[in-house]
Subunit: 337 residues, 4 copies
């Protein structure tokens, strides 16, 4: 089968992650170009990963007729516009999350993509995490029976600056969005209603900037299951990423991944490794696997595993969570337009 | 120091648990009488545990001037009345939970007990569980920093009958009440507001009887921490009792207790014991320790570790949770009179 | 069924452990007398556990016709003689390990006990430990297939004094003897050959006193399985007691028991409890269960679960291990007379 | 820094593993040629990993003046000869284990390599395993105090055929050789004496072919520590690879690696993943890291981390173990010439 020729738009952190996966682990793809407004970043990535072309202007990638697929790794507020341009140029699209923070803009993107007849996958990489995928498959296969409760713990190792928090659209859109996607993925059902409680327990400056850094969000799913997510912008012991699904036939729970399986016993205590530091360490395997699935979907002309509607759903949940917190009441997803 | 002479009112399951602790593990106490409306139960317990006297009428115990303390292990709806009679008879009281389901009645009991100048301890045994007590002490000593999130999982191995559920006052008063107490105990703060989501996922008959069998309850504590409890009337793998406290300096989490620490590895899987079956197995150590503390408080004339206000608080939370579920909104504890 | 009337000879540490079990946990037995050369110890135990009679001279116990069973908890070098006297007095015997360090004396004891027609159980309590018993049962039931390898780790939290070590008959007779019994118990087969490597890595004074404090002992069992025991007189992290049995259908491994199941995660590490401190904490459940089984064997007139031959076998293995270390070669059990 | 140009001799399983590492994970190296007697294998690897040249005759690689380093991945009995040829051709050498089964031949290889002034690293990849390296570093840094006991469990998931076993030089040379290296690596000391007990518990045909499939090997190290290895050719639950180091300040123990950290709780049991299947899954990370270290040693002209003497030592231990088993006695390493 012929290799899929790929270009990457955006040579920041996530652009580099995908560059590495495509170069080292996806022999079915050929990474032929990378672009970045800061052309030095594109140049550096090109050298490091042996990418033949680099550009300042991403249109060079869209104009290259030999390129079949692009990865949209640019700043969030450009995702939808670039994706639509790429669709019109006939490229398949792998778009980092979120597509946009506006529901209308996402729906517009969907329309354009459909018209262009290209594929568009959203970068909810955690669905491809070895632990969470195993739980999902157990749930999907019925091994856990009817799903009753989904629990997600998601805590970052270090808080962002208050400036970042303020600009991020709020914690729910910036951080919890992954968990909203995971919750529906594990429940096997869309979310119907949200109730969110937020608090500022880490950094008062985040509170002054109008955001929260700690939250518990209760979810009702359309299939009758219920769920809860707890978030914090800082866990001093590291990146805490756990999922538990409880059903009528059993429960499956994923503990954190660690660097080693070594237990050290001393006079003071019996200790084990802390969780892997942050998402680049914890989710590296999933970043590779989502790209592999995307390339495979192009080669076999099958559905991408995470589509635009999957990208839209968590945005709506995040908006409902924000409304719930603001109005101090449960909010139905149907209220969000 | 002289032994504390004790009588037990009610020879059912929990009366027998306390009989056993008092006989075998609390040399500082002497169990001298037991009563039960079904006198055969009292007789049987008396024989089994070597209790010198048994009665049909608990007044015989209240009238015995050599008895210093009584354990109220009778049906729930008699707790408050018997406790007040006992107080008037000058007996110290160990009262099973809940004192009553009416806030007014509990406050009346408190007044009577105060006037009588006797001690009254409430049977929230889980506070004495080795795992949960360790977490509580870490939190209280500041080892976890400021408490941010309290999480409790509490699932029973087997659902009650729908009849029992209907008569129990609802799941929140019957089952979650222990978790409401645990949440405040671990947060180191009273609950300020509750939001409850309930579902019927185990037994439709429970739903038809007007109750729920599955729930997620979000809590706001007065000290700014937030918390969540998830409950289910049936976990097929057994009694699931876990607590996690997360703070600015670290987190402490208690896993389930098991019969052995043996891991068995076969062609099929690597397996460990299921959780201990139910509360009699799981909490036996705590049932002994709460009684030991009660006897010690009498001997040393110190405060009992779990007082009437501790018995009142979870009742109010349960009522708030019921109201929240009914009116589909968060409810402040201050709304409950 | 009538209670078995019991006397205890020796009010030291282990005599007190059995006093407590018999008083609190074995309603089928009645502890009626205790004796000790240091009569104050006997008196103190009598008061603490409510034993009606205490004596300086253990013959008082043997002469009491109402006593059916005695526990020999006196110094090791008196075990066999007292057991034989007790047998002649028609008492059933629970004898602490080792019966004696001389094979001939043990065989003599066996003859006397057989002639007297009484039961004699040896205090290898670890066979009754919840973890090790589960492994034993899995092995015995064939769940692990043919047993191939038995591994035992047994390390004490604190070394004895060099004086104690010198007087103890050596580490193999004093400490490893429990592991020799456990090895055969788990392999389901007697030991055929031993090879022992010893070292002094903890306390040079123990070496100067002619003993070792660290060892690895390889075992061949008669059924073709092989095994290994590793010992150390000091593990700074606490009492390390683990057993692993590996067979053609699977493996079972027991980890250490701990005070709680709490995991604490901080900036520094993720830690759990250290193992329970020493044998009184770790094996308390087994001390109770072995006594319960002994009383039951008397009441039902059945075989005791650990007989004199079970008491003899580890003595012979220990002697073979000593010879192996001295002569620096594997030693067959058949060489030991 | 300039890339190190590399050729691989032997395109079998391990040659492909190194091809993959060099291509994907070691940007400091450039894999320019691969050879195999079965030229189709070389061709296939060349295509799969994008290696520009492939040959039937490995001399083509040795004759290429641009190639600085070769990987000897040919059959065991050719390792030493090819390594010497490569040394004479001025190539640095990465040689799979064992260098040879003859001590004399290994010493000859060492002489030739020294004269040629090239580097030669031996493929004891497990030293680079994340778990075992962590233990090694704790031990080396003194965090565990003086090393007292080293324990290694090493069991394969599936036995080889009896023909393979017969031709392999015996289990100690074929399988335990990795564990002999690991034991000395963890003890921080050469082995001084060996005592080996072998058994046939898996496949009688292996016994008939003159080999064993199960063993316990006791080791004395020169530094006074003692150790034990247990081996079996088949563990039905999978590849069991554990190391434990016990010292005067503490112990470190590595558990098996698994595919996920998910726990599944059902009516039947609480289960976790089985160990990773076999060495390709379990040790993939270490195969990459050993190559990275080799390339780095060439670039920086530093010592290779695993030298010829490291390759020699386990051969001598294996021969001593064979002699021990044959003569049924402990054997000193100094007896092996």
């Amino acid at each position: 089968m012929e290799k899929v020729r790929v270009g990457i738009i955006g040579a920041g952190r996530i652009g580099r992650v995908h560059s590495k996966s495509l170069t080292n682990n996806i022999p079915e793809a050929e990474l032929v170009a990378i672009s970045d407004k800061f052309v030095e970043s594109a140049k550096k990535a090109a050298e490091e990963f042996g990418i033949p072309n680099y550009y300042e202007d991403y249109h060079k990638i869209l104009e290259d007729p030999t390129i079949q697929a692009v990865f949209v790794c640019s700043p969030t507020n450009t995702h939808a516009d670039i994706a639509m341009e790429a669709a019109k140029a006939g490229k398949h699209i792998f778009c980092e999350k979120p597509i946009d923070t506006s529901v209308a803009k996402i729906l517009e993107t969907e329309r354009v993509v459909k018209e262009a007849g290209v594929k568009m996958q959203i970068g909810f990489n955690r669905r491809f995490d070895h632990n969470f995928r195993k739980i999902h498959e157990l749930a999907k296969n019925g091994d856990l029976g009817e799903i009753q409760i989904v629990k997600i713990t998601s805590r970052d190792p270090e808080p962002p600056s208050a400036e970042y928090a303020a600009a991020s659209g709020g914690m729910f859109l910036d951080m919890t969005i992954h968990d909203f996607d995971m919750a529906a993925y594990q429940a096997g059902s869309p979310v119907e209603e949200v109730y969110a409680v937020g608090a500022v327990t880490v950094d008062p400056a985040i509170g002054e900037a109008g955001d929260i850094d700690t939250a518990i969000i209760t979810l009702k799913f359309e299939n009758g299951a219920i769920g809860v997510i707890d978030n914090c912008r800082q866990a001093v012991y590291g990146y805490d990423q756990r999922v538990e699904v409880f059903g009528t036939k059993g429960a499956a729970a994923a503990d954190n991944d660690t660097e080693t399986n070594v237990t050290v016993s001393t006079k003071e205590c019996v200790s084990k490794d802390k969780p892997l530091f942050f998402f680049l360490e914890r989710y590296m395997q999933s970043f590779g696997d989502e790209v592999r699935e995307f390339i495979k979907a192009i080669q076999n002309d099958t559905e991408v595993p995470v589509g635009i509607q999957d990208g839209l759903a968590p945005i709506k949940i995040a908006q409902a969570a924000n409304l719930s917190m603001k109005e101090h009441r449960p909010v139905k997803l149907s209220e969000i337009k």
